[in-house]
């Protein structure tokens, strides 16, 4: 494999300075995705800047009642944190639904957001892929795509984002903080991932050289009654073929507030705002839950072999929201 330079950063500004503007340099978090991609030649960085020991490993309550999560918090620590489990249970469930115990001990919050798609054409350097080599083509459109996107994709790329954690963060209006040589910045998760369009190789709105430093969750009472459910092709250690993060506030049989996001259906964690609009103020019944799902999935554009995802997501939304509504009624 290609030789590379390895540096360990002592602080955030040092890390940003070490990376500089070098397009061949990468930040190294837990390495659970980047190192795999280096082995297969998808990533061939000339320099790695190890940020895993930066002092960004805290989870702290924010003054407004929200939560600040450092970028180097491990997935394991995030899922185990009492405030996460109490206030944002779907987030803890989502993290625990991903990967394996060993991987969660290594993987970081920042790295999780920036992990790459597991599309088998993206990870095989002998195949075309517009995300890996812009303009080379997308074999998934006519090839294997039974786990590819049904929402927000384009003729240039139909890959899905693999994160579970990101789905819960999307549902809860998370904001991503970053640092650059010009100072800090913030991006709402809704704006963090770019639309696919004809530039699938441009995945995030982060400025060049930016280091993700953390994620902030706003205070969100509805999130205390939330759930993440993931469907995959084996019981553990597999990426989702469809997942739902949902939060529901029901009183007197009417939905007062709802948050809904989908995983494994798009190039990014998919916030289901159209569904939320149907839900808010509607009776908390399966009929309206299905109508909400249909409102969101009306935009679905399935390929020949992934149309089942539309059915799956509709069923998942109804099932998860019904469970939350039943719990609220108790």
């Amino acid at each position: 494999m290609r030789e590379f330079d390895y540096r360990r950063a002592d602080d955030v500004s040092g890390a940003v300075a070490l990376l500089g503007a070098d397009p061949d340099a990468r930040y190294l978090g837990g390495g659970t995705n980047l190192v795999d991609l280096m082995k297969t030649g998808v990533e061939r960085p000339a320099r790695l800047v190890d940020v895993r020991t930066l002092p960004l490993d805290r989870i702290e309550p924010a003054d407004d009642g929200g939560l600040r999560i450092g970028a180097t918090v491990t997935n394991s620590d995030l899922a185990a944190h009492p405030l996460v489990r109490d206030r944002y249970p779907a987030l803890a469930q989502a993290v625990l639904a991903g990967a394996s115990g060993q991987l969660r001990n290594m993987a970081t919050v920042g790295g999780n957001l920036l992990q790459r798609t597991r599309c088998g054409y993206f990870t095989d350097v002998t195949r075309p892929c517009n995300k890996r080599v812009p303009g080379s083509g997308c074999p998934a459109l006519t090839g294997e795509h039974h786990n590819h996107a049904v929402l927000g994709a384009s003729d240039h790329c139909v890959a899905v984002h693999p994160s579970d954690m990101g789905v819960a963060l999307a549902a809860f209006d998370a904001v991503v903080s970053y640092e650059t040589a010009d100072g800090p910045g913030e991006l709402a998760l809704a704006d963090f991932y770019l639309p696919v369009g004809d530039t699938p190789h441009r995945e995030t709105a982060l400025p060049p050289g930016a280091l993700v430093t953390g994620v902030t969750l706003p205070p969100l009472p509805v999130a205390a009654r939330s759930r993440y459910r993931k469907v995959r092709e084996r019981a553990s250690y597999a990426f989702a073929i469809g997942s739902v993060a949902a939060a529901l506030d029901v009183s007197d049989g009417v939905v007062r507030d709802a948050r809904l996001a989908f995983g494994a259906v798009a190039s990014r964690p998919w916030r289901a705002r159209a569904a939320e609009r149907v839900l808010t103020g509607a009776p908390a019944t399966a009929e309206y839950f299905a109508a909400a799902a249909d409102a969101e999935l009306a935009a679905a554009r399935p390929l020949p072999d992934n149309g089942y995802k539309v059915t799956l997501m509709r069923n998942l939304v109804v099932a998860v929201l019904s469970e939350l509504a039943e719990e609220a009624a108790r």
């Binding site: 494999m1 095989d124 469907v231 084996r234 019981a235 469809g242 089942y308 799956l312 069923n315």
Partner: protein
């Protein structure tokens, strides 16, 4: 007949008593060294370069640019590699797979074909240069389209006749009260053992030494001797610890290319395959498409049976996945036809993979039996009992103990089958629909000639030497117990040395024949030794060694239908709104002759049943039509069951009917655990949902599309 898992069967009682692996401590502490981690002075490292096209011709290999890269020592390819002799039939009765006999011409017959080996001082340098090596091809259109009804499908014999037939099929079906006619498919599957293939080759004092990970050092020596045209005594292959084989660890590109490079450079060269390379270089189980037709009387007794299986092979090597062979053992009918057909495509060569033929064949046949039970309104267990033949349906030979009925009766009792409501799609628990299913299992009990040496040492211990292979099965421990009982000493006085071709010819760890074959040779050598040991007389310092060769004894074994048998039971939960299928519990009751070590035998049987879960629900290598290569060939993309997929899996065995003609009594447990397991699960999915799933794996998207009763 009772279940007997710990009954001692010999004088000291070592055989039949649970015994942890003699090398277990070495393995869990890391002291046991595997082929890729044994140190050698002056070791160079080879990295294989595989084709990126699925069919064509190599136009050029640009060696000049990589020979200047740091550490690079050599680039081997078809233009400079030594010519090999590939015109022979090896000890397993087949010619060599050209995928292993590397760099002999410029043809590329499939994606991932080995085109070059880059050798360098370090593995990293070799890999970097291998990835930088530019190979140009004249690409030709490829054909990987595998489906029923291909006009070029043709019957192939393989290790059994391609076609058997008796009686008038159409008359049999016409006279049947019930007919099942269905097509079943199984996908391309891969062995996916933990330890990748790895070999180090070196010349030492005029002898070629290969330190390898394989299923039989005799086998690998035999092939290398023939390919490189060497004296048999000039080659030694060692393979002490093996992290899984499942049929894939024979002669492969890694040993042959390492020998080429070691010969060229006159220094030790190691070649280790990556997981991705393994997916095209080390064989796989062909996909199958199988049509099963069953005709039966009103009470379910078979009148006509037709099982036709199509599998796929490469254009350079012929291998048939003999799925239709199962019915030749399991079920009789007046009209009976079985056919194993093959089509040649531009794909890598398939090979033996755990229960070749029986695994996919039992899925189709036992699922069809379940459909017949439904049609006839006969309980699936009862249907098997009514169709239990007393002679080989095709051979006409007597069975050396056919305990299928006993396995079903004991299994049904322990599983609680009697309480089963036969109606499908009516049991609910929350979002889950529940169902149970069953299937029969069988696997041949063959034996291969082997030699062994047993030495009585001067210190009162004994050393057994045999070129056996412990590929994780516990064979080393089993042979220790067998030798101890034969010697009438405690196992701790017996040291078993294996995995070295210098110990003399021996059979492979394959076909569930290893322990049976080697135990036979060890027992024979001990008998010889005991005759030579004079009670009370001192043993000389060099010890007293006796040798055995079972060639004549194996050939002289009376002709019978010799098999292990079993009955599989499974309970599943299915959520038809998400497509998720979860196995809740499995029970396998087997009759496999004498069980040497209950601990490791159970491991083999349970391991096979877990393979059955994987086969039913997870495993599927997806071939990309455009490139001809695999989509996502790694262990993230190729799913096998995880711990969370494996619930309570219980395996047990019956003492079984002994065969007085058989001097060993061991039948083998390595493969039968997978046989019938996928069918039992698929049949349980039908019982849960009312929907037949005839195409494996039963993925969530397939369950969702098929639907079923809503909870």
């Amino acid at each position: 007949m009772t279940t007997a898992t710990t009954r001692p069967t010999a004088v000291t009682g070592a055989v039949g008593t649970a015994h942890t692996r003699v090398e277990g401590r070495d393995k869990v502490t890391g002291a046991a060294r595997y082929a890729g981690e044994i140190p050698f002075a002056d070791l160079a490292h080879g990295w294989l370069v595989l084709s990126t096209v699925a069919r064509g011709r190599i136009l050029s290999v640009d060696t000049a640019s990589v020979l200047g890269m740091p550490g690079v020592l050599a680039v081997l390819h078809h233009g400079n590699a030594p010519r090999l002799d590939v015109d022979y039939v090896g000890m397993l009765g087949v010619p060599p797979d050209p995928t292993a006999a590397v760099f002999q011409n410029d043809r590329v017959p499939h994606a991932g074909w080995p085109v070059a080996l880059v050798v360098a001082e370090t593995p990293e340098q070799a890999r970097e240069a291998a990835e930088a090596l530019v190979v140009t091809y004249e690409e030709e259109p490829h054909d990987i389209g595998f489906h029923a009804g291909r006009p070029d499908a043709h019957p192939v014999d393989g290790h059994m006749p391609g076609v058997t037939e008796k009686g008038d099929l159409e008359a049999g079906f016409a006279a049947s009260a019930h007919v099942v006619d269905a097509e079943y498919t199984t996908p391309e599957e891969h062995h996916a053992m933990m330890e990748p293939h790895a070999a180090t080759a070196l010349w030492d004092g005029g002898r070629l030494e290969v330190v390898d990970s394989n299923q039989g050092t005799t086998w690998v020596v035999d092939e290398l001797v023939r390919m490189f045209q060497l004296e048999p005594s000039a080659v030694r292959v060692r393979s002490e610890h093996v992290g899984g084989g499942f049929g894939s660890k024979g002669v492969r590109a890694h040993q042959v290319s390492a020998v080429m490079a070691a010969t060229l450079l006159q220094r030790p060269v190691r070649v280790v395959l990556t997981r991705r390379q393994m997916f095209s270089l080390t064989g796989h189980r062909s996909p199958t498409t199988q049509r099963v037709r069953l005709g039966a009387d009103a009470d379910g007794r078979l009148r006509a049976l037709d099982h036709r299986s199509l599998s796929r092979t490469s254009t350079v090597w012929e291998f048939v996945e003999p799925s239709a062979g199962v019915a030749r053992v399991m079920y009789d009918a007046d009209a009976h036809r079985t056919a194993n057909e093959v089509v040649r495509l531009d794909v890598p060569s398939p090979t033996w993979m755990r229960a070749p033929g029986e695994a996919p064949g039992s899925f189709a046949l036992e699922a069809a039996l379940d459909e017949l039970a439904e049609r006839c309104g006969v309980d699936p267990v009862e249907l098997r009992l009514r169709n239990d033949p007393d002679r080989g349906p095709v051979s006409g030979l007597p069975f050396a103990g056919r305990d299928v009925a006993a396995c079903f009766r004991e299994g049904a009792r322990r599983f609680g089958w009697a309480e089963r409501d036969p109606r499908p799609g009516v049991r609910r628990e929350g979002r889950w629909l529940l169902g149970t299913g069953t299937a029969a299992a069988s696997f041949p009990a063959g034996a291969l000639p082997s030699t062994a040496a047993v030495t009585a040492e001067a210190d009162g211990t004994f050393t057994v030497r045999i070129a056996a292979a412990d590929i994780g099965t516990g064979a080393r421990t089993a042979l220790t117990l067998v030798a101890a009982d034969a010697l009438r000493v405690e196992p701790d006085r017996v040291r078993v040395r294996i995995g070295d071709s210098d110990f003399g010819p021996a059979g492979i760890a394959g076909g569930s024949m290893g322990t049976r074959s080697w135990a036979w040779a060890v027992t024979a050598a001990v008998e010889e030794l005991r005759e030579r040991l004079v009670p009370g007389a001192p043993v000389p310092p060099e010890g007293i060694t006796a040798r055995s060769d079972t060639t004549a004894a194996v050939a002289g074994l009376a002709q019978k239908e010799r098999h292990s048998f079993g009955a599989q039971f499974a309970e599943v939960a299915v959520d038809v709104t998400t497509g998720e299928v979860r196995v809740r519990r499995m029970l396998g009751i087997f009759s496999a002759g004498r069980i040497v070590n209950p601990l490791t035998a159970r491991g083999q049987l349970v391991g096979g049943m877990v393979w059955g879960i994987s086969m039913a629900l997870h495993e599927e290598a997806v071939r990309d039509g455009a490139s001809g290569g695999l989509y996502g060939p790694d262990l993230a993309g190729y799913h096998v069951a995880t711990h969370a997929d494996v619930p309570v899996v219980e395996a047990d065995w019956l003492e079984g009917t002994p065969d007085p003609d058989d001097p060993v009594g061991i039948k083998g447990v390595g493969e039968i655990g997978i046989v019938g397991a996928a069918a039992a699960i698929a049949n349980a999915v039908w019982h849960a949902t009312g929907v037949r799933h005839r195409h494996l794996p039963i993925r969530p998207d397939r369950v969702l599309r098929a639907g079923g009763p809503r909870v």
